[in-house]
Amino acid sequence: MENILTYMTFIPLFGMFAVLALPRDNYNLIRWTALGFTIPGLIMAIWLYANFDRTTEGMQFMVRHEWIPRYNIQYIMGIDGLSVTMVLLTGLLCPICLLASFNIEKGVKGYFALFLLLNAGMMGVFVSLDFFLFYIFWEVMLLPMYFLIGIWGGPRREYAAIKFFLYTLLGSVLMLIAMLALYFHNDLHTFDMLILMEQSGTYSRVFQTWTWLALFIGFAIKIPAFPFHTWLPDAHVEAPTAVSVILAGVLLKMGTYGILRLCFPVLPLATLDMAFWALAVLGTWNIVYGALCAMAQEDMKKLVAYSSISHMGYVMLGMATLTPQGINGAILQMFNHGTVTAMLFLLVGVIYDRAHHRDINGFGGLASVMPRYTGIMAIAFFAAMGLPGLSAFISEVLVLIGAWQYNKPLTIIAATAVILTAGYMLWMLQRVWLGPVNEKYANMEDVTTRELVTLVPLAIIVMILGVYPHAVLDLINPTLLALNESVLSAAPTVAQLVAP
């Protein structure tokens, strides 16, 4: 299994070609084939979870091959506590999303082929340890996403797709320049992230600051951090359900993952300088701003989209604190947000499939019409609200504990925003599920087995992590403690302060 990461990345890619080779009109064959190519990823994710060494902070399951030796471009893959959670999340969500896409009727072949390409790209981003390889996967993801939103999306899909595309490319271009700057700045001329990290002591403060900013803007667009967030509501509202799930569940995490993978260890001095304004303040602002926007929405999906902005703010705040609790909380929050928001989008998708609209005020009393559905919905809603006993509570509390040691006013603001979260969640719950039954939807069908299969595993994870967070914390803790230490210990040397 030493090549497990390669398999996880490229099996979906082969799946894409396999799907393309199938006859166009046999929808079921295409659907099941595509699903079949994501199952190995899920199985390998479970295997990784079982066999991951929880005692070391270093890279595991590494593979290293020469790719373009002249320019020191290598094929390096490996995972540590930081990336393993994201790999698990990707492995878990992809089959779920494909299953949730079985109701797609237009251009079925293209849809599933692109989805598998997206799967390969996402997995590649999380396991690449060569900056060049990372960048390729990062960009490869853009293409399927553009088409998935643009072809299978809602009425304003074209606008949403190109907006997503342009925003992300803007970030990528800055990242490319930063990547080249790093490459030429060290004498080894390498894209190997591990070596770049080792060399971090030799980069001057000015260089670190500029490179950090270029990388940060690239990642902040993905998170999305205010003021780069405006593409997200558009993309979410127009995207088909499964694409929304992937977008919120995995793609947003790439922003924060990138910051932790590159900005923190490679540019520690700049991280210390910038953490307060760029991460803590901006993160807190994200929390409050996202929650306030969510409160004003009439469209369920848009509400969930803005709640994502709010919840990703906790991740930023947590990692800015540079405390063991805060940074652990941040990663845990990334994982939890991935599962909870995935559920929320799937749940909205269920209603949308039946009613063909998502207007919050257009429903009422669904609880009595769809009891099973409402039960699962309650888990997701209360988890999103941060109710104790469900997963998101733990991660938000960890973030706040970390933040308290870091900056008390910000912590108070962030903690108070939980009330806003409860406000918009409960208000939506009240308008859609409670109250008198809307006669138009009095006969709506309850969740089907296929929908249950997509929702129940996530619900179980949400509940387990609510009482036993160590299932994830044990994986990530050693790596994050080491990362935290390495940033904190990066006191500037005199040479770094004076050098240009």
Partner: protein, 492 residues
Amino acid sequence: MDLGNIESLAYSVPELLLAVAVVAILMLDLFVKRKDVLGVIALFVIVLATLAAKAQGGGDQGWLFNRMVALDSFAVFFKVILGLASFGTIWMSLGSKELENEHPGEYYVLVLASTLGMFYMASATNLLMAYLALEFVSQTSYILSGFLRGNRRSSEAALKYLIYGGVASAAMVYGMSLLFGLTGSLDYTILGDQLSAAGGNGPIVFIAIALMLAGFGYKIAMVPFHMWAPDVYEGAPLPITAFLAVGSKAAGIALLVRFFYPGISEFNGDGTWTALEGVDWPSLMILASMATMTLGNLAALRQDNVKRLLAYSSVAHAGYMLMGFVVLSDDGLTAMLFYTVVYYLMNLGAFMVLLMVLNNSGREDLEGFRGLAWRGGALPAAAMAIFLFSLAGLPPFAGFIGKFYLFAAVVQEEMWLLAVVGGLNSVIALYYYARIVKAMYLENPVDGDPIMTSDLPNSILIGVMVTGTVVFGVYWAPVVEFAEQSIQFWGR
């Protein structure tokens, strides 16, 4: 080696092949009834000439025709690229409906003649030769762009091209005469030595060089000498547009590099070059590069005619290529040469798909691409999407690798402004490339849009181009090595 006229012939096989073919096809035109035979002969000849040019690589190097032209790796590289560009053009012409009844004999003669001129542009080491080659290419291009005689836009294109070309040439000749006055020689080597030995002539040399840039810049459609390009590209027959956008531009690049690098700059031995003292042409070219890419991209944003859109995009690409030109290093030149190869693949490919659409529906605007993927054109649409994303510089396509090397060269020299401007331009460019993709995939066909049919020959060549674009996006080492080995100039 330094050969006289007669001995040089033995080293001029590609050029001789073309010259003989030009005469032969012109004669055959009188006797052959089926004119497409002439095209096939032209295709055959260009293949032979390209192979002959390739065969010169790694062999003897030196001056030919009493130091008028050089035979070196650099020349070989560009002759191969130009041969391929010409090959693509003739292949497209054979399958073009526009050109069906338009004197094919003369047409193929002119394309081959133009290619011959381009070969000499790539190898000229004397200002006189450079001027003659450039004019020869220009004259043939004027006729070719006006070849659709019944078409007003085609005639307009030819006239515009001619007038702009005349002005640019005049400025260039004036610049050359200044240099001749200063140094008493037209030979690059002597001229360069004299200039660096004399010194103190900074301002006047700068003016001379700036004037010459009018001529060189005009060939590669560099701002501010790009004004002819959109109209000519739009009016000319499509294969000729492709020929101008790919071949003519590559030849211009070759001419530019050979004059500015081995001609008037000093090689430092460690892979970097030093510009003439007191003559700050690199700064001038940095400005030109930024202006070219920005203007090209901004103007392309609003085009609804795909041909014109690709014309502006090719102006922008000249700007990108110049990024490798201004850094004064072998890495920059390698990046530029590599980009030329990549640009050949993706741009010619895009023009070929456009040709298919034009043949099919008679339209070359965005609406001609509407819903292409959903009305039988799934494969051409996919190919077009790949070419366009590659042009936009997205991985995993070759266009990304090309841009990557250009950016790397620029960042290595720490020219941050140029790097950032180049980066932002890539984002702008994506917008208009995505408009075509949007039309093909995101829009649905309207009643009356014809079912897309593809002809086999064009499909084959598009397939080759797609393969190249994808393969070089993942494994490009051999091409870069070829480009790297081609940065060898005879006489320096």
